[in-house]
Amino acid sequence: MSSPLSGLRAWIVQRVTAVYVAAFLVYAAAYLMLAPPVSFEAWRAWVGSPAISVASALFFGALLLHAWIGIRDVVLDYVHPLPLRFVILVGVGLALVAQGIWVLRILYGAVA
């Protein structure tokens, strides 16, 4: 059985997303600490700028993918009854997809 996100592929995706999430997080944290947005306009302009909005969308995509693989690993390790495992994984998956759509709405609002 080979699902698109298991085994070696999941292992690689987990590491690639980790590197991107870490790099973006360090960059954004350093930028916001050195130059904190003084006003709503400045904050929205920064988030809505072409580079940051695209990089942020990628960041959240990578973060949610990373969260799916990580939480799935934890659930598979500690939750053994199959029905419970199924319910939790479906719930986590739906929550992550919903948050992905939510993030797109937030970022689209900052760009528009």
Binding site: L25, A67, V92, I106
Partner: protein
């Protein structure tokens, strides 16, 4: 096979009581990396709400400002921040181990202590900056 197990073997303590297990530092860093990841996953909706509100309109931006002045909210954010710092530094350690850096027992232990020291120092710096 079972006859081969001597009385001495049977008397070996099995510390399945989690409170009695003394986890090696590498094990602690590993399980804390998992716990921190789950915590970050659970905190994400709240962080997204703060992000959304801050970008909605000037009123939302100042609402977030005053929300972040709340001591309880700050405490929660500090907990999430420490979790992020641990997840980040322990994660970098795991990536280095994948590359063969710090793979020996001694190297893995030194790396684990380095992660904990880094989390402590960066958390202290963040506390000074934020509170």
């Amino acid at each position: 096979m079972s006859e081969a197990i001597s009385d001495k073997d049977n008397r070996r303590p099995k510390y399945l009581n989690l409170l009695q297990i003394r986890l090696p530092v590498t094990g602690f860093v590993s399980i804390a990396h998992r716990l921190a990841g789950v915590l970050i996953f659970l905190a994400t909706p709240a962080l997204l709400y703060i992000l959304e509100r801050s970008l909605q309109d000037p009123a939302g931006f100042s609402a977030v400002r005053s929300l972040l002045d709340n001591a309880l909210v700050r405490l929660g954010l500090v907990v999430v921040l420490v979790a992020v710092l641990h997840h980040l530094l322990a994660g970098i350690r795991f990536l280095l181990i994948d590359l063969g850096v710090g793979e020996s027992i001694g190297g893995a232990r030194r790396g684990a202590w380095l992660v904990l020291a880094g989390v402590g120092l960066s958390s202290a710096a963040a506390l000074v900056l934020l509170l």
